[in-house]
């Protein structure tokens, strides 16, 4: 026989020659089963709900993925695509992302902010690289708070010349002069500004727009102007004797300028917002005995829940349903006349309206009173064309564009008192709009966001329940003694990775390989560590789409035309 004495080798068979029994000659790849298909899987990254919930739209699962793979720098750069100051937001952000987190519906949401802080700190001194190409276009940024920093960062990245106008002697706005040290150390703010300086952003400190230079002048001098001057005016309560009060912002400004003497021992803090909490907690750390007066109950407080909790942990006294109606000064003390309130019907904000209880007036005696009932935007220096009939600055939320050509705005200046992260998001979006404007794009519209993967597309079977990784913090006894000690210590690498591993990675393929493992037909190929459908062999069974734990694979009808 022709091939006796040798081992079987398909190459020995000529075309058309048949072996003595049905000994196979080839693999089955010539059978292209893809033609049997009526549905086809499409592999495509989508948005996680946390991305959607974050005002900056940071690609959270994407940078987590890099963190888990040990590529810390890559993780940092992905983070910086949408948020230039993660070290800041990683400390002070109210983390709406965590509210959006799908895992919150399963056990507990991911500690996104703590991971952000870890990655942000990792990249903090590495970022700040000057652009490769200078465009020669000049943009003025008014205010160096989060909105201004964000706009400056992304404009400079695109090669524009950026000059930031700041009335204070140092940059940061609310970050430097509002938020207390124990929440956001000034060293972090300093390093953020060093990064901006490394990029080549120019700063004009102690220069107040509206006084030293007008907006109109800036508009003439620069190709575009971004307003990010914030909401730094304290509201008045409109009650008699108010002139004896300090404002919350004033107090924090003083403290952040190094005036660490509290205005008195027993201090009333009026208000239930974040500023009120910062004031009360700062006072405590400076040796005073703050008492928070708030006209509704704990539930209605606009401050972040965790800030309220921390204040309670600190041992700060709260008097709820208490509304000061008048104040007078007697023997160096301030006597506050308060009424008890009760909750009535809901008002426009959706919260129950506080209604005074008749005959409940009572006097309370304090060494000082700090009122922190809200801030508003100063628009007095702005061109009239940029304001509406009520005197509010008009600006598009998605682009920051105002009715004045070349004038853009973002952050609290547009939103009223809001959050750092919203300011960062608006700053970035405005920078993108300004960049388009400088490139001559007339009708710039930001790209729509991709589809979001909702909880029902998450295959929770793949995720054993696991609680959040604990965040190391200073013990309460220790933290209330020292205004300068940062109270949250943050994750180290191990904890950050461990927590990131809890992430479902909604909508982002993290190369888990499920589709590859479960494809009955070897029709998922693995290319550069990612799955790719081989449509020659995919029969469209749909198992990959069913078993993708994170909603990346969707089945679509195979179209004939």
């Amino acid at each position: 026989m022709s091939n006796n004495g040798n081992r079987w080798d398909p190459k020995k068979f000529k075309a058309g020659e048949i072996p003595d029994t049905s000994v196979t000659l080839t693999d089955s790849l010539n059978n292209k089963t893809g033609s049997w298909r009526s549905m086809k899987p499409v592999i495509e990254d989508k948005y996680a709900p946390c991305i959607k919930a974050c005002p900056t739209n940071t690609l959270i699962p994407q940078y987590f993925d890099q963190l888990i793979r040990g590529n810390l720098d890559a993780a940092g750069w992905i983070l910086l695509e949408h948020n230039p100051i993660p070290s800041v937001t990683g400390r002070v952000c109210p983390h709406p992302c965590e509210l959006g987190c799908n895992r919150g519906r399963y056990d507990q949401p991911i500690s996104i902010r703590e991971i952000e802080r870890f990655v942000g700190d990792h990249i903090l001194d590495k970022k700040g690289i000057p652009p490769k190409v200078e465009t020669g276009k000049r943009v003025a940024v008014v205010g160096s708070g989060p909105a201004g920093m964000s706009a400056a960062f992304y404009l400079r990245r695109r090669g524009h010349t950026v000059v930031v106008y700041e009335k204070e002697e140092k940059g940061g706005g609310v970050l430097r002069y509002g938020i207390p040290e124990y929440r956001l150390p000034k060293k972090i703010v300093d390093r953020e500004f060093q990064a901006l300086e490394r990029m080549g952003v120019q700063f004009k400190y102690r220069t107040t727009v509206g006084k030293d230079v007008t907006v109109e002048q800036l508009l003439q001098e620069y190709d575009a102007v971004f307003l990010g001057h914030g909401a730094m005016k304290e509201r008045h309560m409109g009650i008699p004797g108010e002139e004896h009060f300090l404002s919350g912002l004033e107090f924090l400004w003083e403290v952040n300028h190094g005036n660490l003497t509290p205005p008195g021992k027993k201090v009333a803090v009026i208000g239930g917002g974040n500023v009120a909490m910062d004031v009360a907690r700062a006072l405590l750390r400076l040796g005073a005995e703050p008492i928070v007066l708030y006209r509704r109950t704990e539930k209605e407080m606009p401050a972040l829940k965790e800030e309220v909790e921390r204040a309670l942990e600190d041992g700060i006294e709260f008097r709820f349903l208490t509304q000061p109606v008048a104040a007078r000064k007697e023997n160096g003390k301030i006597i506050l006349t308060c009424v008890k309130m009760q909750l009535g019907e809901r008002d426009r904000s959706g919260r129950p309206r506080p209604v005074p209880v008749e005959g409940s007036e009572h006097d309370l005696e304090f060494d000082a009173v700090v009122a922190a009932i809200g801030e508003y935007v100063d628009t007095s220096f702005l061109p009239k064309e940029a304001l509406d009939k009520d005197g509010w600055l008009v600006a598009d939320r998605k682009t920051g564009r105002t009715p004045v050509k070349g004038l853009y705005a973002g952050g609290d200046a547009v939103l009223g008192p809001a959050t750092v992260v919203e300011a960062v998001g608006m700053g970035r979006r405005a920078a993108e709009a300004i960049d388009a404007y400088l490139n001559g794009v007339e009708d710039y519209k930001p790209a729509p966001l991709p589809r979001t993967v909702s909880f029902k597309y998450i295959m929770t079977e793949y995720f054993p329940k696991a609680p959040r990784v604990e965040v190391p913090e200073l013990p309460v006894e220790e933290r209330i003694k020292d205004y300068f000690k940062e109270e949250v210590l943050g994750y180290d690498l191990d904890r950050a990775v461990k927590e990131a591993l809890r992430c479902f990675s909604c909508g982002h393929c993290n190369s888990c390989g499920n589709c590859y493992v479960f494809c009955p037909d070897y029709a998922i190929k693995w290319v550069d560590d990612k799955p790719v459908v081989d449509y020659d062999y995919c029969k469209g069974c749909g198992i990959c789409a069913q078993e993708c734990p994170r909603g990346i694979i969707t089945m679509e009808f195979e179209r004939l035309f």
């Binding site: 049905s22 196979t24 000659l25 080839t26 693999d27 089955s28 010539n30 059978n31 079977e461 493992v517 479960f518 494809c519 009955p520 070897y522 069974c541 749909g542 198992i543 789409a545 069913q546 078993e547 089945m555």
Partner: protein
């Protein structure tokens, strides 16, 4: 799918034999051969002995490092191949025997086998008189031969699957795998649900993941939170006709079997892991 996981666990020095079953077709008609390992097709009832024969040849030729695997369906294992399987097990042949169990004769058009579970519809157990006997407990039969290793696995738990094959690869002697392998047409499920159904079989304790070493030492590998069997049954058209009483009957059967298994685990290990208690009470 299961074959891929198995081969992932076993590496590439593997020879296989496959009796009459779906895989007779899947591997491809002449001249095609889908698998990347040498494969001998053999008669329906001979998987275990054909593998033994290959093993003997390799041993004589000094190729002891090559793993020999028999890969058979439930019919070829629970029914017609049981005699040869028992023989190979009793002789403690140094082979791996895998049964991928889809709980009926699927290749021939869904006729009942002794692996068909109670209550299931097949073409020979129609809805009017569905399967009246529980599935044959092949694991206990194999354990009774005191073979070194027997394990259950399913594609829905690929890590467990691959781990067990890796473990089995290094054991000398008869190794047996019982793999639950859903068949979309036979179980009347959409094809994309097959992994989900297999997972649900484990989660409902209908198909526990466990190992039996030396025929005696029982280790449960996965402690399901324990969902009602109804969740598993109602995913599949073949159980759609079941009444509440029948479902309850199945539930009781499953609970009882699980308790036995947990008891054996406890006997083996002296104690139960923390998560075990919940599995005994919850449904």
């Amino acid at each position: 799918m299961a074959m891929r996981l198995a081969l992932k666990g076993l590496g590439n020095r593997v020879m296989a034999t496959i009796p009459a079953c779906c895989w007779t077709i899947i591997d491809g008609a002449w001249p095609n051969h889908a698998l990347k390992i040498p494969l001998m097709h053999t008669a329906f009832e001979t998987a275990a002995i054909a593998a033994s024969g290959i093993r003997a040849a390799l041993d004589v030729k000094g190729e002891e490092d090559v793993t020999v695997m028999a890969w058979a369906g439930d019919g070829g294992t629970f029914d017609i191949g049981l005699q040869a399987l028992s023989g190979a097990a009793e002789r403690n042949e140094n082979i791996i025997y895998v049964t991928y169990d889809n709980e009926a004769y699927m290749n021939t058009g869904i006729q009942r086998s002794s692996a068909t579970p109670y209550g299931a519809w097949t073409t020979t157990t129609p809805v009017k008189h569905p399967e009246s006997r529980p599935k044959k407990n092949i694991m206990e039969i194999m354990a009774a031969h005191r073979i070194p290793y027997a394990a259950t696995a399913t594609i829905a738990f690929p890590d467990d699957f691959v781990r067990k094959f890796r473990k089995a690869k290094d054991i000398v002697g008869m190794r047996f795998f019982h793999i639950l392998s859903p068949c979309p047409p036979g179980w009347k499920i959409p094809s994309d649900m097959s992994v989900k159904v297999a997972r649900m079989a484990v989660e409902t304790k209908v198909f526990p993941l466990y190992e039996i070493e030396d025929g005696e030492r029982v280790t449960i590998n996965y402690w399901p939170e324990g969902r009602p069997v109804r969740d598993y049954l109602m995913m599949q058209g073949r159980f759609k006709h079941l009444t509440d009483e029948q479902i309850e009957h199945i539930q009781q059967f499953v609970d009882h079997q699980w308790k036995r298994l947990v008891h054996l685990h406890e006997l083996t290990h002296g104690s139960l892991p923390e998560e075990a208690q919940a599995t005994l009470t919850s449904r």
